[in-house]
Symmetry: C5
Subunit: 324 residues, 5 copies
């Protein structure tokens, strides 16, 4: 589905509403400025028609349709740069990172964006860019910046959501009430997936910032560097989270071991305390004819006292040895 | 065994059926276009005859015959490029990755392919290439692309098969019913083997894509880049799987520890509960002459009540302490 | 809040007290020497006014206001170098590293410094620099050196604080009295955070030292190299601490395991010792009519002796097997 | 001890039997072709005499005499290349890798080889080279190839021996009959030692293959590349084995944990089953005057039935909970 | 304290005994050859006077006085190269590596060496160099070589000492008599410290060997390469030791786990064996009026036999299951 299509010139949108794709192709060949065509999960025939209209490369269009796992930047003949960005959204209730994909064709006089999956809406990026004519005037590359900026900004809440859950898990581990191995494991899996969406973008982002992919003016370059900087920050944070979760998994095992230690120690301790009075009771249950104590009046209370004493003695010495 | 041998010119196969190897050698020296000779596990003398006919290097032919463990790209004198690719197939019932090998000699006017082991059939690659005259016209390098493309595409089901088994193992670990250490270990071993088939190909694939190995036209280069891109994806996925399996192994230990904890705790808990009534019973089994309770009518029911009370009290307090 | 603003020329401060920001801007455009303007957590409008007065880039000013996690060096048009440094302070009672941030704009004829959070006071740096006219004469870069020098020097007490706590934790682990998993984990988290403040600075610091960022005279370069050297030392120490804490976590688990072993062994050992006399008591509690021992005079003392003997025998053999 | 010394020219050995070292030195200065002098653990004075005769560097001769741990390639004045290779042999009964050392001096017109320790016999390498006049004609570098080829080929059985033992250990771990921690540890130590013999050779081998060390003809270069290729394969296999052994060590701990779990669970389970009938027996051992059941005819059989029932019930429920 | 000061020219020491520092400075400016001034833990004023006399840089002098943790090589104006080396000595009784520091100023016509802490005595290095006029003739760089050579040679006994202790620890771990977690941990800490003294020297050593720091003649270069080679060897050995100690720590945990397993299993096993006869005894302690066995003559011996049988049966079956 085509969601917007507009002609930009001299830093301003040339018209309200949506333009037809064919007209846009004609404009981008004949007039100054550039055209930005936005699509969301396009049907194969829609994409095919755009492909023929703008002369896009078959392989890039295939990539835009499928669901990749690697962000990338590629250059095709006819000065078309093809960029795939992975968008991410944190679903807190499921503790899952949901991924989407934005494919961007940046060609001479046109930008075509294709969103797939849970990708961020590009409308805010468009509005923000339209409000900055000085960047829009730099041409199609400014659209690439606007989208990359939004995608990378949207990584921040994911990092925060993961951070929050990591902190919850930390508290669970050290409160000792649960053994959240499963949750730690699944969080680590999400962090790894997210890392794989973020990390491979570092190389291409640096290349774009240095101007090695698209011709980029000095003014815009500063803005790309800003995106690159945020991306590096996200990358380092995710890496630190991965490391943290591995350490938590280990700490969790130590805590589990201590817990197990405590419970087993306490149960065995109590069982040991009861063992001695039980022995004494068994002792005086023996059927020997001549056990003088049995027939003395003080026998019974003396033995009860003995049992209590033995129990208390054991309890105190176990407490001292920190076994109870 | 020679399985196919054909002459390609101007992007089209020049004849139906299979050509003789000697004729092919003559053609590749005298006519335009190129010859593609396909062999499957050739006998030593077959390979030797092809070696002399096409003037291949002894060491490359040795490599093509043996069963290597490293994919590689090498250049020999006479502008012959020798490529070894590792093919992989996932055997789900045994949870094993089966490897094969395809050796490719790309020379001036000829391509010779040698399959060893459980290598993918190259017939589909041949058919797919024949249906794209514009690529076939680029000469022998197009055959290298067709094969590399198929080999790397065949890695995808392996990754998926491993992924499926990793998910099964995850469920087993966290359902707590089994302790699949052995399965985790063996899966990790398979993933490591697969990684060793995929990873060393990254360097050569990048070199081919940059045109540093064979002269490659702009059109074909885009297709090689596509293969390179898929390869990088597979490499990252396998690396992530390795990391995941290491984490599962650790999580498995934590889960085992919890399980052990639980069972030991429960058994000791129940044993401790029975200990107290047993003590009481032993107590009233003592043979003191003067134990007044023994001779009262309420003695027996009172003691039974005491036992039940002690048991219930212990049970409740153990439940509260989450020991049961 | 602007905390100081002064004009430096020929290696000396040109006046006592604080100059107005607008006057300073005028001076830095028209006169020789340079102006150093220092701000602490400036209000947005304060910063905005400085931004317009000195013509700073919007993105750099945004960065100076927000609270980053990455130190960095960036160059903006108009020969302005923008540096972000992370300051660190160790709060011993909470075993936490507190971070602050110093943003530095080094332009032609001016240096603007902005402190955020728990950042080190820059006054000592200013005084120290003012006492070295030969460095001050090298211009704005000398201010960058003075600040970087102080920030990196302030890392040393953090390293020492962490070192001290690591040593405390070591003693706790090996004294066996506690199981400080939580403390090890949290220390490691602090060390990781600190590492992330120090490590990304290595690249920019090396670049500045080589003169690739700012023009730096030979004299000043030596001083930058000195800072760079201290930074590398801190980086290596923090890395070693991280590694150490991971090892402590593992050692802690081994120690816990031994402790658990000991207690369980001892309790079970004592329980086992009491088991045998209890059996003997039960034995002679059997109600068989014909148990001759029961009716002999020596029966009772013999059995008591047997019990004591059994207990002693078990005790001795358990001691020998090191189970008690 | 000098074991062989021969003059090679035009690809052929010029004489049967061994030549005197002094004559060889004269020949290598005055005639075409080159001399290959082979020594095995030479006495200091033997080596010294060769040193003066051929003008070798003191430091290289020292290295050839001592027992190093690092393979290396070094160039000395007078166009002498000095190569140290580590040979390896797997001693299956002791599960140990035995190392030897071959030092090679390749100079203008001469090759001197010195074997130390359990180094592979070089005679086969000499014979194989002598049977290939086209390689021998390339001069001293061909001898370097012949030796390197043999040394690296001799690594393959070591890899296989280690592989075999790793598989044995795997079976031991998962058969659960033993806890081969010690064997895993020692194997890993051997693998690490072997890795240290193989890995540092990668750099020099690549340098030799690229022709950066010795002038090497195109023909010989292909053969060096073949050695380099085998070396890389060995390096990757050893690295994979190291990783595998680390994983086995972890898996071993998980398996141990399960085993421990099982045994403790079973013993406690059975102990718990016997606890209940014991309690019942103690119960009816109480001496209350008025326990009506005791004096009924059905009392005794009823209680026995109760005991059996309790035992069976516990057994069945423990079986269901998989505790037995 | 100045410990020696001599003038070297044409490869020979020009005089017996110690020269005055001021005279030395004059000589190094006016005469050929060079001066080597050696100091041990100099007082601040001593160092200051040398600093002014030879015109050394303030920062380098500061470094020479303090106690660093990083070896390094730096160049200062006036063609002065400043080298810091970390010396190491193994104190076997404390299992500790003691570090010292040697700072070396190599300038035109002079070498100044400053020893701090437990640094190796440089007198042997001086004597050894004096006995090799051909190296001494290469100027101040030869002194740098002599010192570096001695420092790196002194690393070898540290590596051996650590190796010896690692082997002791290995034996302790696998003899099962102790649980040397603490010792393993502390050894690993020492190895890490030592690694940090050795590793950062690799870069500067390579740079010096390549001649990128000081002008070094071909003859001396070979000797520097020899030092570099030894350093690499030490670096690899220390790295391997670190890895080994990590593996030992893990193996230790597995061994501990097995030990614990064994003891708990044995104690529980014996406890379980006694449980069954105890039950039988309790059984015949019941007070039922009609328990016919109690009144038969064979009852008592039969029950004793039953107890013994049960015990033996349990013992045998536990032995078979390897629980005892």
């Amino acid at each position: 589905m085509i969601v917007d299509c507009a002609h930009y010139r001299d830093g301003r949108r040339q018209h309200e509403g949506m333009m037809d794709a064919r007209d846009a192709a004609a404009i981008c060949r004949n007039e100054e400025g550039f055209v930005w065509l936005g699509m969301v999960e396009p049907a194969p025939d829609e994409l095919e028609s755009v492909q023929t209209t703008f002369g896009l490369h078959e392989l890039a269009v295939e990539d835009a349709q499928s669901f990749h796992l690697r962000p990338k930047v590629e250059q095709y003949e006819g000065a078309v740069t093809f960029v795939v960005l992975r968008t991410a959204r944190y679903v807190d209730e499921r503790e899952e990172v949901e991924f989407g994909e934005i494919s961007i064709f940046v060609g001479p006089g046109f930008v075509i964006t294709v969103r797939q999956g849970a990708a961020s809406d590009l409308h805010p990026a468009r509005l923000r860019l339209e409000s900055r004519p000085e960047l829009l005037m730099e041409g199609p590359a400014s659209v690439l910046w606007a989208i990359a900026d939004q995608v990378v900004d949207d990584y921040a809440p994911v990092v925060e959501g993961l951070e929050r859950d990591i902190e919850e898990v930390e508290q669970l581990v050290f409160s000792g009430s649960h053994a959240p191995t499963r949750r730690i494991y699944l969080l680590r899996r999400e962090v790894t997936d997210f890392y794989r969406a973020v990390h491979p973008l570092l190389g291409p982002a640096a290349a774009i910032t240095k101007g090695g992919v698209l011709p980029i003016g000095e003014g815009l370059r500063t803005y790309f560097r800003d995106v690159d900087d945020h991306l590096k920050l996200v990358d380092e944070e995710v890496l630190a989270q991965r490391d943290l979760l591995s350490t938590i998994l280990q700490a969790n095992m130590a805590v589990l071991s201590v817990e197990q230690n405590d419970v087993v120690r306490k149960i065995s301790g109590w069982a040991a305390i009861i063992t001695v009075p039980t022995f004494i009771a068994s002792f005086y249950g023996m059927n020997f004819t001549s056990m003088p104590e049995l027939h003395r009046g003080w026998g019974y209370p003396a033995v009860v006292t003995l049992m209590v004493l033995a129990g208390v003695l054991l309890y105190v010495s176990f407490k001292r040895a920190r076994w109870l």
